[in-house]
Amino acid sequence: MVKLENREALKNLRNSLQTKFQESKKKLISLCAGSGCGAYGTTKVHEKLMAELAEQGLENEVEVKLSGCHGFCEKGPIMVIHPEGIFYPQVQEQHIPEIVEHTVKNGELVKSLIFKDPATKKKITHEKDVPFYKLQKRIIFGNNGIIDPTNIQDYLSVGGYAALEKALFDMSPEKIIDEVKESGLRGRGGGGFSTGIKWASCRKHEGERYVICNADEGDPGAYMDRSLLEGNPHSVLEGMIIGAFAIGSNEGYVYVRHEYPLAVKNFSMALESARELGLLGKNILGIGFDFDIFISRGGGAFVCGESTALMASLEGNPGLPRAKYIHTVEKGFRQNPSLLNNVETWANVPVIVNNGADWYASIGTEGSKGTKIFSLVGKVMNTGLVEVPMGTSLRTIIFDIGGGILKKKKFKAVQTGGPSGGCIPEKHLDLGIDFDELTKVGSMMGSGGMIVMDQDTCMVDISRYFIEFLKDESCGQCNPCREGLKQMLDVLNRICEGNGREGDIELLEELGGMLQKFSLCGLGTSAPNPVLSTIRYFRDEYVAHIKDKKCQAGVCKPLFYYEIDPELCNGCTLCAKRCPEEAITGKKKEPHELNQDKCIKCGICYEVCKFNAVAIR
């Protein structure tokens, strides 16, 4: 690739690639190579596809693209055949000959592979008609399924780096910052702070300024940042270059988790090719602006997502947060003014610059503009990444896009905001979610994790789970968090073990209040949220655990037992065959019996019985 020396060169290259892309009549197979699909075997499918195409002499007529995450990872590996947009989920090696023979060669559908909507049982042939996608608005995530993330030309062919061009040549740094401010964009990493205001305040401070991308993605259950870095790294990169130009910075860092090897790889490639084209490095596009970005890999510590800890970690030290009397926009990385934004925040920047603040601000709610990518996971039918305008209701996301709860079970709660978020019960399902509404009901936006829980999830166990997680992740620097979390965990453990005492709920509330007030960093101050929100909405469950010694969800082993309901059991024998302890006996077609003394409460019988005959008591 030739280095682009000026605006004209960039414009010409982009225009020619865009035209080529739009006019291409070639069949295009887009196969998802994101991490989710990878876990279901994309590599093998790809190898087989290439071999089959070669064998049929089609390798020059069909283009195969390994794309990033399409969002519907649960149904991976995902294949979409363009121009028609034919959608094949869960493609395996053995399906390839049929696909090539029928769909690629003759334009016919392979009936057995067509997607069947699990909610309506309807067959759906085109990607755009799949309910999971239909109700989404994918302004950030949309190109993921179309482009090859390792090829910068692909990004240019969908209009990439047009925003950078506009920002560098048609806007002043002040104008860019104003535009971001007016767009109403708020940080997607958790706090929801106004991005424009943060930029303006960083620009004000003198020193060697840095721009940093927070790709630590500590929130377990959320993976939109991973998917953006893997699937559309240039969109994040473009945002960062614009940010650097706006605040006057020459050096940037991406702090990404070591556990995300593909994100590291794809982003590194993006950096290389941007350097080759002259979009990074010295004298970018001939305007005398120097900027480059480096990758730093984190080491699996949740607290390193916190801004001051992240910067300590970037400096090669243990990631310990510090008190923020002085903000990082003034003194951050290497004691210099540092602008930290989340991956998704950065990816919003080119969209805002391209379309203008007014357009952007027309999407969303009064206080939260634009779209948000949620990671819809847990006990929901369609799991994956969902991008919707701010203000979309939880019900729409979980039931219309997500297709409702798995196995027709009953919805209990949805957990948002990561380990320090809260659990939202059914009565708030019609809530239009944005930063402020989520806070009002005792949860928060966090980075957009949305974990759906059903009747089999115990709310006491879930809050115990989060407190255990946070206790492990606490850096231990300050007393309230270190000792407080340990105390809270002790109390929750004893409740789950059946030794809960009168007054334990109040004790948890008191400890929680102390953590909120006196912890040094955001980890400690928000840590009690899962406990407090479950006490607020599911107090009954706590009481049942403490007073009646019962766990109705069948999770806390000392607090329940399984029993076979003779009325419902038809003696199919399945449970008896599967029980690892031979605890179930009975004759075929007669009600079975479960021997409590032998049972280890592994739950296999409960899962396998198709007649709901295994009951939790």
Binding site: S35, D219, G316, F469
Partner: protein
């Protein structure tokens, strides 16, 4: 049991070189070393102290602070069971139980033959495919007890 590894000092030098001996890269250097030996052999520590010009205490503080670094030998195959929230509600603990039983070790331990290390990790970013485990860098999704055991047994066969 004592374990000795033959350290390839030239490789270690190359890694340090790759980061221009920058002390800010201490963690990444240790991660790269870890990628070769599955842990950071303590013999490497004085070399890091020397070449990066950092204190020994810093090396140990960094090595113990971050979960991706271990100063103890780990197995040839590092099995990470995701215990992140999405996997947790879909039964990750049952997978951990099954693997603990199969490998006859507890979470965080390594088998005596140094073949497997079993760890819990907080999320590997494949949450829609949960429950998920990773073996070294490869991710396996949509698991239940049986398929998780099968996956691990597969690696077992790879060596025997």
């Amino acid at each position: 049991m004592e374990h000795f590894v033959e350290i390839d000092w030239q490789k270690v030098d190359e890694i340090i070189e790759k980061y221009n001996g920058n002390r800010e890269a201490l963690l990444m250097i240790m991660q790269d070393i870890s990628d070769i030996y599955n842990y950071v052999p303590p013999d490497v520590v004085p070399v890091l102290v020397n070449k990066l010009g950092v204190r020994e205490s810093l090396v140990y503080r960094v090595a113990t602070f971050y979960k991706t670094i271990s100063l103890e030998p780990r197995g040839k195959y590092i099995v990470n069971v995701c215990t992140g929230t999405a996997c947790h509600v879909r039964g990750a603990d049952k997978i951990m139980d099954a693997l603990e039983e199969h490998l006859n070790i507890k979470e965080g331990q390594t088998t005596d033959d140094l073949l497997f290390t079993l760890q819990g990790v907080r999320c590997v970013g494949c949450c829609a495919s949960g429950p998920v485990i990773t073996v070294n860098q490869k991710t396996h999704g949509g698991l239940d007890r049986a398929s998780a055991l099968e996956t691990v047994k597969f690696y077992d066969q790879c060596v025997s």
